[in-house]
C-alpha cells in the first residue's frame, strides 16, 4: 500500500452524492416588502368592507349595483295620446286648491324653539320679531301634592276672544311659584291689571297671546304657556288678527 492509497482511505474521503445547487436566498428586504404590501392590501380590503357595511348611506358599491340594473321599468305603461289641455287643467285645479288653503286673512305663526313670531296677511309677511313661550317645566307643589305643566300648546288654534286692558285673575300656581300663601278664590289680590300688558287674545284652554312687564326676558322660554309679545308687536297683532283668525304654534 502506498502512502497515497492510505491517505484516500477513511470516512472523510468517501465518495458522496452530487451536491444540489443551493437555492438563491430571497433578500430580507424583499420579504419585508412582500409582507408589508400584503398587510396593506388586507387592511385596505377590511377598511373598505367596514366602510361599506357601516355607512349609513352606502354610496359606491350600492350605486354600482343599482346602475347595473338598467332602468327598464316593468311598469305597464301604455303611452296613450293624452289630452294635454285636460291634464294642465287638472294640475291648475290642484294648485288652486293648495293656494286656497293658505289662509286668505291674517294669521300668526309662533316658533317655540326659537321664540319668534311671524304675522302674515295671506301670503305676505307683515311683521316678525321676538316673543316668549312656555318654559317647559313641571312645577311640583309637594305640600298639596299637585303639579302644573308650563308648556305652549303646539298646533292650530283660533282667536276666540280679544280684550283691551285685560285684568289677569291669578291662578293658584302663580302664588305657589312665588312662594306665597294661596288666597281664597275671590280674594281681591288675584286681580292683576298690569302683568298681561295692554291687550290679550284668547286662543282657548286658558292660553293667550298677551304683553308683559318682563321685557328683558323677551325671546326666552320663560312663560307659563302663553305667548308674550313686546308692546308694539302686541298692538300690531291685536289690530291685525280678528276673532276666528288662526294662531299656529310649532
Amino acid at each position: 500500500m502506498t502512502t497515497n492509497e492510505y491517505l484516500f482511505e477513511g470516512p472523510d474521503v468517501q465518495p458522496s452524492a452530487p451536491i444540489k445547487p443551493e437555492k438563491p436566498r430571497r433578500s430580507i428586504w424583499k420579504t419585508i416588502l412582500f409582507a408589508f404590501l400584503s398587510l396593506l392590501g388586507l387592511l385596505a380590503f377590511v377598511s373598505f368592507a367596514l366602510y361599506f357595511l357601516f355607512n349609513v348611506v352606502p354610496q359606491g358599491p350600492e350605486l354600482a349595483m343599482a346602475r347595473g340594473l338598467g332602468r327598464d321599468s316593468t311598469l305597464n305603461v301604455e303611452k296613450q295620446p293624452v289630452d294635454q289641455g285636460k291634464i294642465l287643467k287638472e294640475i291648475t285645479g290642484l294648485e288652486n286648491k293648495i293656494d286656497k288653503m293658505t289662509s286668505q286673512g291674517p294669521y300668526l305663526i309662533v316658533n317655540t324653539t326659537e321664540n319668534r313670531f311671524y304675522l302674515y296677511d295671506g301670503k305676505s309677511l307683515i311683521r316678525e320679531g321676538r316673543c316668549s313661550t312656555g318654559k317647559n317645566t313641571r312645577l311640583v307643589d309637594q305640600k298639596r301634592n299637585k303639579s302644573y305643566e308650563f308648556k305652549t300648546p303646539r298646533g292650530v288654534h283660533q282667536v276666540i276672544h280679544k280684550q283691551k286692558n285685560p285684568v289677569w285673575t291669578k291662578p293658584n300656581w302663580a302664588y305657589i311659584e312665588d312662594g306665597l300663601p294661596i288666597p281664597s278664590a275671590t280674594d281681591a289680590s288675584r286681580q292683576d291689571p298690569y302683568t298681561l300688558g295692554d291687550y290679550k287674545l284668547d286662543i282657548g284652554d286658558g292660553y293667550m297671546v298677551h304683553g308683559t312687564i318682563w321685557k328683558r326676558r323677551m325671546g326666552l322660554p320663560v312663560t307659563h304657556g302663553c305667548v308674550r309679545l313686546l308692546d308694539d308687536d302686541l298692538e300690531a297683532v291685536f289690530n291685525t288678527l280678528s276673532v276666528g283668525s288662526k294662531v299656529i304654534i310649532y
Binding site: 343599482a66 340594473l69 288653503m101 317645566t137 313641571r138 311640583v140 303646539r154 326676558r217 326666552l220 299656529i248
Partner: protein, 253 residues
C-alpha cells in the same frame, strides 16, 4: 412555527371571505328591493290615466296630490324638497317654516326611480312609524315649588340657558322602509364625533346583525333607502319637536 403560519393564513382568509360575502349580500339588497318594487308597481300599471301623464306633469301631480293629502291632517307635516335642497314645515297647506339643507346624501334607490314609480311611492305622505333621537320631543324639567319668597326671587333671577351644546341627531323611519337621517350642524368647537359615532354605529351594528341573520335564515338582505340631511342644529331641533310622533313626511324630487 409552520403550523402557526398556516393557521394565521387560514384565519385571515376566513375573515376576508366572510367580509366579502357580507359585502356582496349587502350589495345585492338594493337590486332586490328595486326588483320587488318593480313587480309591485307592475301590478298597479293598470292605472293608465295616471301613467299616461307626461313626466314633468306627473312629477307636479305627485307633489300636489301629496300636499293636498297632508293638508287633510290637523297636525304639522314635513316636506323635503330634494331638488331645492330645502325642508318645509306645513300645516293645512300653510308653510310655517323653511330651512336650507346644508348637505344631502341619498341612497341610489331614489336616483333610479322613474316618474311613474315616484308617483306610486310618493303621491301620498309617508307616515313616520318610529324615530330615534339624541334629543327628546318634549323636554320637561321638574321644579319643586319654592319654600318662600326669597327662594322664589332667587330662582326668578336665573336666565334660562338656550345655547345648544348637545348634538342633534335623529332618524325618522317611514312607511315603505324609507329612512330620513337628520344631523344638526353645530359650531365646530362643540365635540360631535363620538356622539355621532355612537348614534350611527349603533344602528349599523344592528344592520350587520340583521344582515347576518338574513343570511342564516336564507331571507333577502335588509335594505333601507336612506336620505341623510345636514341642517342647522337649532332648525333641526325645531323641526323634530314640531313634527308629531306619527306625523307625515312628503318627499319631493
Amino acid at each position: 412555527m409552520k403550523a402557526l403560519k398556516i393557521s394565521a393564513l387560514v384565519l385571515v382568509l376566513i375573515v376576508v371571505a366572510g367580509l366579502a360575502f357580507l359585502m356582496i349580500t349587502a350589495m345585492k339588497a338594493p337590486k332586490q328591493t328595486l326588483q320587488d318594487f318593480n313587480e309591485e308597481t307592475a301590478q298597479m300599471g293598470k292605472d293608465k290615466i295616471v301613467l299616461a301623464y307626461p313626466d314633468d306633469l306627473l312629477q307636479k301631480k305627485t307633489i300636489l296630490d301629496a300636499r293636498l293629502a297632508m293638508s287633510e291632517n290637523d297636525s304639522i307635516g314635513l316636506r323635503i324638497n330634494l331638488n331645492e335642497k330645502a325642508l318645509y314645515l306645513e300645516i293645512k297647506g300653510i308653510v310655517l317654516h323653511k330651512t336650507p339643507i346644508l348637505k344631502l346624501t341619498t341612497s341610489s334607490f331614489f336616483k333610479h326611480l322613474n316618474p311613474a314609480e315616484k308617483y306610486v311611492l310618493f303621491h301620498k305622505p309617508l307616515v313616520i312609524l318610529r324615530d330615534e333621537s339624541t334629543i327628546s320631543k318634549d323636554k320637561f324639567e321638574t321644579v319643586i315649588a319654592p319654600k318662600d319668597t326669597l327662594e322664589a326671587q332667587a330662582r326668578a333671577e336665573i336666565i334660562p340657558d338656550t345655547v345648544l351644546r348637545e348634538p342633534i341627531l335623529y332618524r325618522l323611519y317611514l312607511k315603505d322602509g324609507i329612512r330620513i337621517q337628520v344631523t344638526g350642524q353645530l359650531h365646530d368647537s362643540i365635540p360631535q364625533f363620538w356622539p355621532k359615532f355612537k348614534f350611527d354605529y349603533g344602528d349599523r351594528l344592528n344592520y350587520l346583525k340583521e344582515l347576518i341573520s338574513s343570511i342564516t335564515n336564507k331571507k333577502p338582505a335588509p335594505y333601507q333607502p336612506t336620505i341623510s340631511i345636514v341642517i342647522d342644529a337649532k332648525e333641526a331641533s325645531a323641526i323634530y319637536r314640531a313634527v308629531p310622533k306619527k306625523g307625515n313626511v312628503i318627499l319631493e324630487f
